[in-house]
Subunit: 503 residues, 2 copies
């Protein structure tokens, strides 16, 4: 026991370690627990190591779905049995994003080191809402690195969150409240004299629309500005809309720039947006969910020019840094405004000068969560172990793979690129003569489902300028060039089969 | 590879597994990775097993804090080195809530089985925002069990979240939007004809105030109703306030009942609140952050009478079920209203009838998060392995320990109970003659800091009816009766020392 400087040695009851234990949830037999855990660890490692040998995806069988609908178990069950059920009924039916031919949505691949970090975090069981303990300093370290990455000042604040959806929500809350600190929190937005409006391109991620709804501002108060041929926000249209809104006595409070749109990977002109926001005195937020991490690559970093002048940035570690789900981050340039939007210390959270209840700036002062797991640890492990240079190389590799895939598509008359490839996302479709757009949409949607069910590859779908697209997102550190050849072979085979069967 | 029913066998390039690998983030040497991971696992298990042998808490040394402020690392580092740094600089400085004499705030103790669950979840790396894969069915299983526990219908909906703060936020969002579905999302609350107001006792948890602020309703729109001598909401005062508000053309939309207040563990009369809400046509939400799980104990369940008629319930698995941080849950009786508050499916999230993009009701349809880790797995492991009966016994044991502690306090003239012990929380203070309340407040605050620094025990502080209290919260499956004797000895020793030194 640590020596106390403050209170005299307390005589422990001599019996304390001999007393008959009351109930606990600890293993009765630690050695048997240890054996089970080591078996599970080997299986976990094998699962990651052999990702390529499996199907990308397979459906959850009826048998498993039924087994998972049993009633609430009153009696406990041996851990080995529970583990066996997991191994047989859950582990085989993963999302698929550990596989080198998973190209759906924007998923990270995961990291072997994440297995360590998560088991260690579970053992520590830190609650990172606040107080003064090691995990809090690890989170600060990760936030410090993030500020450095984006050229934010040391004085900026931030928070690790589940992902960019929550990061965006927090940033928008600060931007909203910054308009009327104090009053806004007490009285809500109803008393605010003008309607607050925000701006983004039509390519904006819908989580920002959801954030506007949640904050009570309403989806319609997010003005969707047309995008140009490169899927960037049209700056002239944006300026016009701001002027129109001001003329109508609306109050522009935030411009949302995107670094890496979800449909095509486009970057808004952040430099111009930063200038515009400064001139108009509007909060400048950047949604860099996956594209933000292009700051890790010297080649790609110029696309982010202007982000260093943003008022806030949201991005994910679980996408292009492959940290296990979930881990995102929000940075706010103005710590005072950030704190003013969220700080609330009721008596039972009173900060004390010394001891566990000490430590300045608890994370709960900067967001809506009071209980928070130790997600900083897996990010810390990932950055320390791999280093930023390697992450940057992998990001560049994924972009090179996207260009390679686009070239292959360009050489195939049955395939059609639907958007320029500006980063790591390739939108294309299978086409065949004598079909209208609706029929092609249907064919391509079926084709993607065929691919999933085949287990060969998993792209997703989206809509690009009115066309249903096969969307190949490459945030995958396991993909090799040959995997894209496999993908295209499978697309062509499925497309031909679909075309033959339905004409 | 899984046999495909839908597309012909695709000829893979023969070279695929022989091709020179491009870069990846996988270990170059899997055996060395495996060795490191097994060492880490043994250390993790040892950490949990030997919790009692350590100090409850110790400050993070200067040396460690400095080491954690280094610049963003460009080069990677051997995993063993990173792990060593973790072991020496982070692991020893935990929050302390794995220790049998941690009694601060409302923290869970953690579970050894959580180590397995979290390492396995990290290996699977599931994104539980949506799609059709095993993790989604595990979450549904956990939600199904939760509905059963609280007597909610199968048709209810729910979501696992980081904790009750977010669960409360989601429930309040649904309650707010249910007033004007569609319009509220599009137009915000500004156009709503009346000011929406909610009700809770003065003992309400502040995360609900934060939720009111976030939603744009404003903290002042949460009416704080006085509590009675048992710290329950005063029903007459509540009825009067509702009537007053209606008379002033405010619109009561939600009553927030608490099952287990954070200061004293009081339960509002949920049965009466349910009746009142039905009569007044007001949404009835129950914040059962830790007290909700009293449903696991036959003895304690009667206190929750009425919760089965709530419109929504929020509670945590990481508190009295000890699942590693973080894991909470929201249940909503009306799945249609829940979906109407959050469903948003842009084209790139299009649901398809078959394949990975299939599966009805994605979790992202029910909350603000699109990327979501697989936190259902640790809950599933905990419930399967321990069973509800055991959890109920442990909850009863903690309540018995609280009564035991209160008895000991009652017999000590230097100690004073500050609130009746109705559950698992004991609020008391050290007192000494000739001091006014302010001096006693200061003395007790110093005393708690002394205890933290001693490493012997970690209660927290709060304010009860104007007095600073030493607050002992018992949600700890490792505590034994003797631990409370140690606590009191330490409190008395520290109190006497403080009293002697400053008079």
């Amino acid at each position: 026991m640590m020596k106390s400087n403050n209170i005299p040695e307390v005589a422990l009851p001599v019996c304390i370690d001999k007393i008959a234990p009351e109930l606990s949830l600890d293993p009765e037999d630690w050695e048997s627990f240890r054996a089970c855990a080591h078996v599970a660890l080997d299986d976990a490692i094998e699962f990651v190591k052999t990702a390529r040998q499996r199907s990308v995806w397979q459906p959850v069988p009826e048998r498993v779905r039924n087994a998972l609908t049993g009633p609430l178990p009153h009696a406990g069950q041996d851990l080995n049995e529970v583990y066996e059920e997991f191994k047989n009924s859950i582990l085989p039916y993963s999302t698929g994003n550990t596989h080198p031919r998973f190209f759906g949505w924007v998923h990270g691949t995961g990291l072997a080191s994440g297995i360590l970090a998560e088991m260690l975090a579970a053992a520590m069981n830190a609650n990172c809402g606040g107080r003064d303990h090691g995990a809090i300093y690890v989170e600060r370290a990760v936030l410090g690195w993030s500020k450095e990455l984006f050229g934010f000042p040391d004085s900026a604040s931030g928070l690790l969150v589940s992902g960019t959806s929550i990061a965006n929500l927090i940033a928008l809350t600060v931007a909203r409240n910054a308009r009327a600190t104090g009053n806004m929190r007490a009285n809500g937005i109803r008393d605010y004299p003008r309607r607050l409006v925000a701006y983004a391109s039509t390519e904006v991620h819908d989580c920002l629309v959801k954030a506007m709804e949640l904050l009570g501002l309403g989806a319609a108060s997010l003005r969707k500005i047309p995008s140009n041929s490169r899927f960037q926000i049209d700056l002239r249209a944006l300026r016009d809309r701001i002027a129109d809104d001001r003329a109508l006595d609306f109050e522009p409070f935030c411009i949302l720039g995107t670094a890496g749109t979800v449909n095509t990977g486009a970057f808004d002109d952040l430099d111009e947006l930063a200038k515009l926001c400064a001139a108009e005195k509007i909060w400048f937020h950047v949604d860099g969910a996956f594209g933000g991490l292009c700051a890790l690559s010297a080649d790609l970093k110029p696309r982010l020019k202007g982000i260093e002048r943003a008022d806030s940035i949201a991005f994910d570690f679980h996408k292009w840094m492959h940290v296990p789900y979930d881990a995102g981050c929000v940075l706010i340039r103005h710590a005072d405004l950030h704190r003013a939007a969220f700080l609330m210390r009721p008596p039972y959270l009173g900060e004390l000068p010394r001891g566990l209840a000490g430590g300045a700036d608890w994370p709960c002062d900067f967001g809506p969560e009071l209980s928070r797991g130790f997600r900083a640890l897996k990010v810390w492990f990932a950055i320390k172990h791999h280093g930023t240079t390697r992450f940057g190389q992998l990001i560049e590799q994924n972009c090179a793979q996207a260009r390679y895939l686009a070239e292959q598509i360009a050489h195939q008359p049955e395939l059609e690129l639907l958007a320029p490839v500006s980063l790591n996302i390739v939108c294309f479709r299978y086409r065949t003569s004598g079909r209208d757009d609706k029929a092609l949409d249907d064919l391509n949607a079926e084709l993607v489902q065929d691919l999933h069910e085949s287990g060969i590859a998993a792209p997703s779908t989206t809509n690009v300028r009115g066309h249903l697209a096969i969307r190949v997102n490459i945030t995958n550190h396991r993909s090799r060039r040959a995997d894209f050849e496999v993908l295209l072979s499978a697309v062509l085979a499925a497309g031909r089969r679909r075309a033959a069967s339905s004409t």
